[in-house]
């Protein structure tokens, strides 16, 4: 009678995305934010000293992570109204499935923000990306999995406090440092036309980070929702 882990995850993610689609608030805020951040990065450099290519990786990654952070809380916030989270916990589904579902929902959300920001970035900064798109998307995926997983876990705790919007960045930002360092290094290299083989070290770091934190978060989720 009870669903499998992935069955639950997809059901939860589908429900979340349906609800988000109806309200679209988090999504809209994130997109507007992304455009603003890109613009600020563009204008805040001395164009005689700093080329667009120099500032590009930083601009793209700060945009991705901060715009994403705006939306990470919604996954669990929508379970707070009417205590829907209790309904989920009462059903005969594996709790890990609920967590994975929330991650999938957040990943979809962040992926859309990134996929919209990337062409905007290319447009604003005059940096061609089509020829390196697969590698770029690959790196983006690896880093995004990292911060979305940790962000989703932290949000499960933080939505139950009074200052959810403030607490998530305070807790999450330190966890962004290793994946962002790696992602920026690789992105800079990709945009400069360097082969992927040069980044073996960074890719391994990103991969190890993903594995370590996905595992840790899956194991820790139960502790964030039990009472």
């Amino acid at each position: 009678m009870s669903s499998s882990l992935w069955g639950t995850a997809f059901a939860v993610a589908a429900k979340d995305l349906k609800i988000e689609w109806r309200t679209k608030t988090a999504f809209a805020s994130s997109l507007v934010f992304a455009v603003l951040v890109l613009a600020i990065f563009y204008f805040s450099r001395d164009s005689t000293v700093v080329s667009e290519l120099d500032i590009a990786p930083a601009a793209i990654w700060v945009t991705f992570t901060f715009a994403a952070m705006l939306g990470l809380n919604r996954a669990f916030l929508l379970e707070q109204e009417n205590r829907a989270i209790d309904g989920l916990l009462l059903s005969p589904v594996p709790r890990t499935g609920i967590f994975v579902g929330k991650i999938l929902g957040n990943l979809a959300f962040v992926a859309v923000v990134e996929l919209v920001s990337l062409p905007l970035f290319s447009l604003f900064f005059n940096v061609p990306i089509l020829h390196v798109l697969p590698s770029l998307l690959g790196v983006a995926a690896m880093a995004t999995i990292a911060f979305v997983t940790v962000g989703t876990l932290l949000s499960a705790m933080v939505v139950r406090t009074r200052f959810a919007e403030l607490m998530l960045p305070i807790l999450l930002l330190p966890f962004l440092v290793p994946p962002i360092i790696g992602a920026v290094q690789i992105t800079a290299g990709i945009l400069a036309g360097r082969p992927m083989s040069e980044f073996a070290g960074w890719l391994k770091l990103l991969g190890a980070f993903d594995i370590a934190f996905v595992t840790a978060c899956l194991l820790l989720f139960e502790a964030t929702v039990e009472e």
């Binding site: 940790v150 876990l153 932290l154 705790m157 933080v158 139950r160 406090t161 009074r162 200052f163 607490m167 305070i170 807790l171 930002l173 330190p174 966890f175 440092v177 290793p178 360092i181 790696g182 290094q185 070290g201 960074w202 770091l205 190890a208 980070f209 370590a212 934190f213 840790a216 978060c217 820790l220 502790a223 964030t224 039990e226 009472e227």
Partner: protein, 234 residues
């Protein structure tokens, strides 16, 4: 013995340890000031490094303790573990402040730069920020059991994070090398300095244990009082 008696005894022991360590501090730093050789390239200002390294060591130790106790709490669910973890985090935060102020001062006086994004300094900065995050989270949760659980989750995650921060910054620096700033005493440390350093680290460790004991005992006494107050009403 009642719980209160146990707590009071711990408090006394904590004071003994702390005062002993403070006395030890005076002894060590007298040695530092007058009986340890002055480092050739850096001059007398180098001596601040003894404080810096010792407090960094204490801070790192405190962090590890909080992380391990967090893991244990999630396994055993004994709230005493959480109380000790909290005490350790608070003391670690204090040592962190000392470490982060002495480091830049040393750097500025001796090498001319306040800050250097090398792996060690950066990792210790993030250690400090994680401590702050831990404290802020605790402040935002009212229920005791939920607070213990949430703190433990952050504690464990932070433990997993720090090696990655160190690694990523280290890799970044090997790519973009700058003259290394805050190195110890040079390529090799003469025995006299090493002994002083070890002494200093030892005294700081005892100070850490003393402070944590005191803090823990005070927390227990505070909880006892709150418990009695709650029973008085119901």
């Amino acid at each position: 013995m009642t719980k209160r008696d146990v707590a009071l005894q711990l408090l006394r022991r904590g004071w003994v340890l702390t005062l002993g360590a403070l006395a030890g501090l005076v002894i060590v730093y007298t040695r530092v000031a007058f009986f340890t050789p002055i480092e050739s390239t850096q001059g007398p200002a180098q001596k601040i490094f003894y404080v810096h390294v010792s407090s960094a060591w204490a801070s790192l130790g405190a962090f590890a303790v909080t992380g391990i106790l967090s893991l244990l709490y999630l396994w055993r669910r004994d709230r005493k573990l959480d109380t000790v973890a909290e005490a350790s985090a608070e003391v670690g935060l204090m040592f962190g402040v000392i470490m982060l102020t002495t480091g830049p001062i040393w750097g500025k006086v001796v090498w001319g730069t306040w800050w250097d994004w090398d792996a060690k300094l950066t990792s210790t900065l993030f250690l400090f920020l994680l401590f702050i995050g831990y404290t802020v989270l605790r402040g935002a949760v009212a229920d005791l059991d939920t607070r213990a659980r949430f703190s433990a989750v952050i504690g464990v995650l932070s433990l997993v994070l720090v090696p990655f921060i160190f690694l990523s910054v280290h890799m970044f620096r090997t790519l973009h090398p700058k003259p290394p700033v805050l190195r110890a005493g040079g390529p090799s440390m003469p025995a006299a300095m090493l002994i002083t350093l070890l002494f200093s680290v030892f005294v700081f460790s005892v100070l850490y244990v003393g402070f944590v004991t005191l803090r823990y005992a005070l927390a227990v006494l505070k909880e006892l009082r709150a418990e009695e107050a709650a029973h008085g009403i119901s």
